[in-house]
């Protein structure tokens, strides 16, 4: 097995260092619509429906839904140690930032290339939010 390593710059929103397997969603995510006791996405018709986002490095375009439900959703996952390890997004809004701060999940945006081209589900990804660096290891 050959490993290819790519190092990319990003913009820190919530600090922290985390490493894990990437899970990519091209659709916005509402954490309220995941099972707080398993981390499985239960939103019908969602691209990640049935997939487990716990302890993954989650790559998605943005958050969605009202502030109350979004924050409570991610917070409940954190309480059960099932939150994503880190989050890489394209667009941020205030609610997602607050959710990540409360859940203490590293959050970055503005990857120097399109995150959906650079990262694929299953890649190993290390996020060092403080340094503004994302390292992607592809398993070829």
């Amino acid at each position: 097995m050959k490993n290819e390593e790519v190092k990319l710059r990003c913009h820190k929103i919530v600090g922290g260092v985390a490493e894990g397997e990437a899970l990519v969603s091209h659709e916005p995510i509402c954490f309220y619509l995941t099972d707080p006791k398993t981390g499985v996405v239960r939103e019908k018709n969602h691209e990640l429906a049935g997939k487990n986002l716990s302890n993954k490095v989650l790559v998605f375009p943005s958050g969605k839904a009202s502030s109350v439900v979004q924050i409570d959703g991610l917070f409940k996952l954190t309480m059960h140690n099932l939150a994503p390890k880190a989050m890489i997004v394209k667009d941020v809004e205030t609610v997602l930032i607050v959710s990540a701060v409360l859940a203490k999940v590293p959050l970055v945006d503005r990857l120097e290339v399109d995150p959906f081209e650079a990262i694929h589900t299953g890649d190993s990804v290390r996020v060092d939010a403080g340094k503004g660096i994302v390292i992607i290891r592809k398993h070829m």
């Binding site: 913009h11 820190k12 929103i13 919530v14 969605k64 009202s66 502030s67 109350v68 979004q70 924050i71 409570d72 991610l74 917070f75 409940k76 309480m79 941020v92 809004e93 205030t94 609610v95 930032i97 607050v98 959710s99 701060v101 409360l102 945006d109």
Partner: protein, 402 residues
């Protein structure tokens, strides 16, 4: 972000752990949006919810000795004393609600427990810089009043209230307040339910943006504007809109777009609103178990309308009839005799709460009716019929909707 010496000291925890946590959150938001600095706010509204995430943050601030520096009102939770007499509420849920309410009191928030603070308990003026969370509050304050706020979360609004500042970004900057899409209203808006449907439609179609509504013939009422705000910011993320000649920042379409030519326009017809209404229904008709009104909270005028419709009538046996409102509004409704009329008919007017609270779990497997798509969206019940107030009252009296 450039912080002043005082802001640096707060961030370093020199003024206590509570204000430090609040400042950390504001700095994270400011950094994310490349805000240049913090700006003072004059008031805030925290969309408290009585849920665990809410409890975690407000208790963190309360334990850390934080106090609100500017008037900061609160959203509905629920009055445990009232609901314990009515339903069985799970012990742990009730404990969360109680702790949340105590913590907000400890940080010195205005205990309004109302989702329309901008009408009574905490009213911004034109041009004020504020931090208002809550779906109807954010767009109402920006558009109707002309104060500036971003689409805050409960926690960022509370943090802003504690520090008395918010990062300078988003809707606090004039250029970001210009229209992004024109909505040509061809539909007839007969009553406040028409604005409810219009809000639902615009939120769904625009998603995120600043709609500019044209073609509205009759000046909308306060309640109609509230409904439009609540629904468009639930089905979508509409933090601001313009109705040239009605809302405060634009008298013409050109002004609403700040001189730009609208890139996109969407037409709304009666058929669109009809379809929007049909999509909201999860039940067609038949027997109903309850009617739920007041999402967002009913104003005094709406309670008066409900009372007038119920005058001399009896709500059908087995049908529960609820109106949610604020404590201040209920007090006036008592004086006006509205509460007595509604109660005589078999209904209840409850304060401090909202349909999204755990106290309503008793209706989980029942069929209900409401005039609010937002209530239906957050529903904790089996099926919902969404219709105007008059139809809701008629169905409550008959015991069924047909």
């Amino acid at each position: 972000m450039n912080l002043t010496r005082e802001e640096e000291r707060i961030l370093a925890g020199e003024l206590g752990e509570g204000t430090k946590v609040a400042m950390e959150l504001l700095v994270a938001i400011g950094d994310a949006f490349d805000a240049e600095k913090m700006i003072p706010i004059s008031r805030a509204h925290a969309a408290s919810s009585g849920q665990e995430g809410d409890m975690y943050f407000v208790e963190l601030l309360a334990k850390g000795g934080a106090k609100c520096r500017v008037p900061t009102s609160t959203n509905p939770v629920y009055d445990i004393e009232v609901f314990h007499k009515l339903f069985k509420i799970p012990k742990d849920e009730a404990a969360v609600a109680r702790r949340v309410m105590e913590a907000y009191k400890k940080v010195g928030a205005i205990l309004s427990w109302s989702c329309l603070p901008y009408l009574t308990e905490n009213i911004p003026l034109y041009g004020e810089t504020v931090a208002f969370s809550e779906s109807s509050a954010t767009p109402y304050v920006n558009s109707v009043i002309g104060a500036t706020t971003n689409r805050e979360a409960a926690q960022s609004a509370l943090a802003a209230g504690v520090i008395g500042k918010t990062p300078l970004y988003g809707l606090h900057i004039r250029e970001n307040r210009k229209g992004t899409v024109q909505i040509k209203v061809e539909a007839t808006l007969k009553d406040s339910f028409g604005y409810t449907l219009l809000g639902q439609f615009v939120g769904e179609r625009v998603g995120y943006g600043i709609p500019v509504l044209t073609g509205i013939k009759k000046r909308p009422s306060t309640e109609e504007l509230i409904n439009f705000c609540a629904m468009s910011n639930t089905s979508g993320a509409i933090s601001m809109f313009h109705i040239p000649g009605v809302t405060i920042e634009a008298t013409t379409v050109r002004e609403a777009f700040q001189g730009d030519i609208p890139k996109e326009s969407i037409t709304v017809t009666n058929a669109d609103l009809q379809r929007t209404c049909e999509k909201l229904q999860s039940a067609r008709g038949g027997k109903i178990d309850f009617v739920m009104l007041g999402c967002p909270h009913y104003t005094l005028k709406q309670i008066g309308q409900a009372a007038e419709l119920l005058e001399g009538k009896k709500i059908h046996k087995g049908v529960a009839f609820w109106i949610c409102t604020s404590a201040t509004t209920r007090k006036l409704a008592e004086r006006m005799g509205y509460v007595e009329t509604v109660e005589k008919a078999g209904g209840s007017i409850v304060v401090d709460t909202c349909i999204d609270e755990p106290c309503w779990t008793v209706y989980r497997d029942q069929v209900g009716m409401t005039d609010s798509p937002k209530c239906a969206y957050y529903r904790r019940f089996k099926d919902v019929i969404v219709a105007g107030l008059e139809e809701c009252v008629q169905a409550a009296v008959k015991g069924e909707y047909s």
